[in-house]
């Protein structure tokens, strides 16, 4: 409690300087104050770097089988050991970062774009448009998300790309609802009324005024959703509905090696840790962003 009070005091002191610093700098500053968020950002950046430089640093190819060296324990030759095909797990984890981040980022991007569009339309126009869109969201949210993802994949056929699409689809209503509720409140602001009063076109109001003012919770939600998406991709991979062999997707790696849990635990341990760390990174970062971007949370 004492800490909170101190924070409040800080906030009260600041306003004099605030006029000079642009809001994004202010946000950045308070983000850096949150040590956990910085750790999260660090983890995320670490995995992004790994994903980019994977081909340069990976000692072996991700599909390079050496059956003579199968299921070797971690050693200086194979840092994370080898799997049941004699593939180097370290290299596969590095390449796997590409897949997980790719799926995480683009599936969320997809659902953000579609969800925001639908949410804005529903929130701004209201009435039957809102009713239809909102009911569709309700129906989608009524399904457990992984079940819906499985359904989508089984319609499209199992592959990494279709898993990405499935994850994007199941997350649309989350963003749609978020944006819609934000639009509903922004719509009532005086500057919107003013814009309307001077005869501005709907499309311009939506894009120039409502969208920028509704987007900050979306950014927070998106960061957190990437974490969820990575787990969902791993789950689909584990079920054989996502990445197809020999793609080094972490969930698929877990599924492939689960039979060897007693003989070769490292085949499960490292992909598991990789999934855990990336998800943790995005979650911490997301929480930090929320503190910064959502003023209500500060109280």
């Amino acid at each position: 409690m004492a800490e909170l009070a101190k924070n409040a005091a800080d906030i009260l002191v600041i306003p004099a300087e605030e006029k000079l610093t642009p809001p994004w700098k202010e946000a950045l500053k308070s983000f850096y104050k949150n040590k956990l968020a910085v750790v999260g950002l660090g983890i995320v950046l670490f995995f992004i770097v790994i994903a980019i430089i994977a081909p340069l640093v990976a000692p072996y190819g991700f599909k390079e089988q050496v059956l003579a060296d199968r299921m070797q324990a971690p050693s200086s030759k194979h840092w994370f050991g080898t799997d049941d095909f004699g593939r180097d797990i370290f290299s596969r984890i590095l390449y796997g970062a590409r897949i997980s981040l790719w799926v995480g980022f683009f599936s969320v991007l997809g659902s953000v774009v579609v969800g925001t569009l639908l949410g804005i339309v529903a929130g701004y126009y209201g009435r039957w448009v809102d009713a239809i869109i909102s009911r569709v969201f309700d129906v989608m949210l009524a399904f457990p998300s992984i079940l819906l993802a499985i359904a989508v994949v089984s319609i499209l056929g199992p592959s990494l790309r279709n898993a990405l699409i499935a994850i994007a689809v199941i997350n649309i209503p989350n963003f749609g609802r978020l944006v819609r509720s934000k639009v509903l409140s922004v719509k009532q602001e005086e500057y919107i009324m003013a814009a309307r009063a001077i005869g501005m076109k709907d499309s311009r109001i939506l894009l120039r005024h409502i969208l920028p003012n509704s987007i900050s919770p979306v950014i927070v939600q998106a960061t957190l959703a990437i974490a969820t998406a990575i787990i969902e991709a791993a789950a689909l991979g584990f079920l054989g509905l996502g990445a197809q062999p020999p793609e080094p997707e972490w969930g698929k790696m877990l599924a492939d090696s689960k039979n060897y849990i007693t003989q070769a635990p490292w085949t499960l341990f490292f992909p598991g840790v990789a999934i855990m760390l990336t998800v943790l990174g995005f979650n911490l970062m997301g929480d930090g962003l929320r503190d910064v971007l959502d003023p209500k949370m500060k109280q």
């Binding site: 909170l4 089988q65 095909f85 787990i231 969902e232 054989g240 062999p245 039979n259 499960l268 943790l280």
Partner: protein, 551 residues
């Protein structure tokens, strides 16, 4: 996957960073311990619970297996999981030896063959009753054969063993007649060398005519035979329960009171169930788990005598496998030795022919396509596929005796093929659909295999690769008239030495045409609880549990 409540829950913790840090630390610690824990349980696992089973005399055997039966009317299928059960419910006129394919009396106690090889006379066991109480007699035998020969490939696929159906020219049986209540006579149109061996095959179990008429198409779910066990209940994809037939004609048998066939798809999960005492016998033991079973003093490993072939089929009616050069190229590109070392624990023979060497007529002078990527590439170039191509590679979803880990083997083949620019996408589908699609020739390239039914080369070469068998077991849709003539000549020839020569010739033709990549002849492994006695696995892949008992 992650639930929103968990995320929401974190909000309240946000300010309390120390709690969060602690949680993270605990999570990391538990992951670490879980990782290390694996090794320690491996060492102690065997001795963990030695006192779970035992106690009063056990007479219910639970048999764990990878897939459910597709039917319990054995003539309606060619699939091994069905026979594992029906062997116990139905009996055939002749039976094989306990662990070989020599012929012994079954429902027929003696038989006579005419000099021209065209008339077979069988004396039947007297006083045998079907499970529904009706009598087993010559009329029942005639009824069964009439039923089968009036069917077609969809209904009774295995009946092609007799050259086709009633209207077909190739059909060898001219007539089946009851001479007296316990004598049956078969008259053939042409001699068929493996005729007696065929009769002993599991699909030709004699069913109760009354029950067949009563149940019609549902007989496949309500089997009634003369065997040591009676059918009780079938829960699809879960269990099939059989109970002792108290009126079994062989006195003192069976020794078990009840048999339950339980489906546990994952080989490792099945092994866990065995170690926990949930099941008593399991088939489809991974070779990599053999050491685990041997290290557990509650369990035993049982080896099935080998009589099978696991192969990679190339559908010869589909591009690019309609081109012989491409098929040969694939043969050069697959590294069988590595596959055997990795996924058969070294306990399999690399296959070069479509039949195993334990069977008479095996052509050992054939030189296998060696693993040589340059040759493979050269052949592809010659065929006009220099840049390679993309295909689907289908792998069985279930463990088969000839291939306990098909998906893994498929991944190795995928990597092999990538080296000659052939991009293979691994696909799978449930077992029943898999076989259906394979029958129709809908796969480019597929993993499959065959366990011999009667120990005759005919049962491999004719059954799997003759043009007559397209639509039943010739999944690669391979049709070759020259081969057909040789195989039919071998069927008709009754002198064994001449037959062997013909089969050797047939293997040369097949080798050159390469409709398959023959992969392995495996020694399938089973595991059982130590107290299971007299479990004698049969090379055909299914055996009646008549004499099994608990020590």
């Amino acid at each position: 996957m992650i639930n929103k409540k968990a995320l929401g829950g974190k909000k309240t913790l946000m300010s309390k960073k120390s709690i969060k840090l602690l949680l993270i630390f605990l999570l990391a610690l538990s992951m670490f311990l879980a990782g290390c824990g694996g090794k320690t349980t491996k060492e102690t696992g065997g001795k963990k619970e030695p006192a779970t089973s035992g106690g009063s005399a056990k007479d219910t055997l639970v048999y764990g297996r990878g897939g459910d039966s597709t039917s319990l009317d054995p003539i309606t299928t060619t699939e091994g999981e069905a026979f594992k059960v029906t062997e116990n419910i139905f009996e055939t006129l002749l039976e094989y030896g306990e662990q070989d394919t020599t012929l012994h009396p079954g429902l027929a106690k003696e038989w006579k063959v005419s000099d021209d090889g065209l008339t077979y006379t069988f004396k039947l066991q007297e006083g045998v009753k079907f499970h529904d109480g009706t009598d087993f007699n010559a009329d029942a035998v005639v009824f069964n054969f009439d039923r089968w020969m009036n069917g077609n490939e969809d209904k009774f696929p295995y009946y092609t063993m007799f050259g086709g159906y009633k209207a077909d020219e190739g059909h060898v049986i001219k007539e089946v007649k009851a001479v007296d209540p316990y004598t049956v006579e078969f008259v053939l149109k042409r001699p068929q060398a493996p005729f007696l061996k065929n009769l002993a095959m599991s699909p030709f179990g004699i069913a109760s005519p009354t029950a067949v008429k009563k149940f019609g198409d549902d007989f496949r779910k309500n089997p009634v035979g003369t065997g040591p066990f009676k059918f009780v209940e079938w829960k699809q994809n879960d269990t099939i329960t059989l109970e002792k037939n108290p009126d079994y004609w062989q006195k003192g048998l069976p020794k078990l009171n009840k048999v339950v066939f339980r489906v546990i798809p994952e080989n490792t999960a099945r092994l866990n169930a065995l170690a926990n005492g949930e099941i008593d016998v399991m088939d489809g033991l991974n070779n990599s788990d053999e050491a685990t079973v041997k290290g557990n003093d509650k369990l035993q490993v049982i080896e099935r005598p080998s009589m099978n072939v696991g192969y990679l089929g190339l559908t010869t009616t589909r591009k690019p496998f309609d081109n012989k050069l491409v098929r040969q190229a694939i043969n050069h590109a697959v590294n069988k030795k590595d596959i055997i070392k990795a996924f058969y624990g070294g306990k399999a023979l690399a296959a070069k022919n479509p039949m195993p060497p334990s069977i008479e007529g095996y052509n050992d002078s054939i030189k296998d396509y060696d693993y040589d990527l340059e040759k493979a590439k050269a052949l592809l170039k010659e065929a006009g596929y220099e840049k390679g191509f993309e295909i689907d590679l289908w792998a069985m979803p279930v463990a088969r005796p000839y291939m306990p880990e098909a998906q893994k083997v498929a991944e190795v083949i995928q990597a092999d093929l990538a080296k000659i620019n052939v991009k293979a996408k691994i696909q799978s589908v449930d077992w029943a659909t898999y076989l259906q699609k394979a029958t129709k020739g809908e796969f480019d390239m597929f993993m499959l295999g065959w366990t011999g039914d009667n120990g005759d080369p005919d049962n491999f070469l004719y059954t799997l690769l003759d043009k007559d068998s397209i639509g039943s077991n010739n999944y690669s849709q391979y049709s070759n008239d020259e081969l057909h003539d040789v195989l039919i000549a071998a069927q008709t020839e009754t002198e064994q030495a001449k037959r062997n020569e013909l089969y050797k010739k047939a293997q040369e033709i097949i080798h050159d045409d390469a409709p398959w990549v023959p992969l392995v002849h495996s020694t399938p492994l089973l595991a059982a609880a130590k107290d299971v006695a007299d479990y004698l696995p049969h090379p055909t892949g299914s055996e009646a549990l008549t004499k099994v008992y608990f020590k």
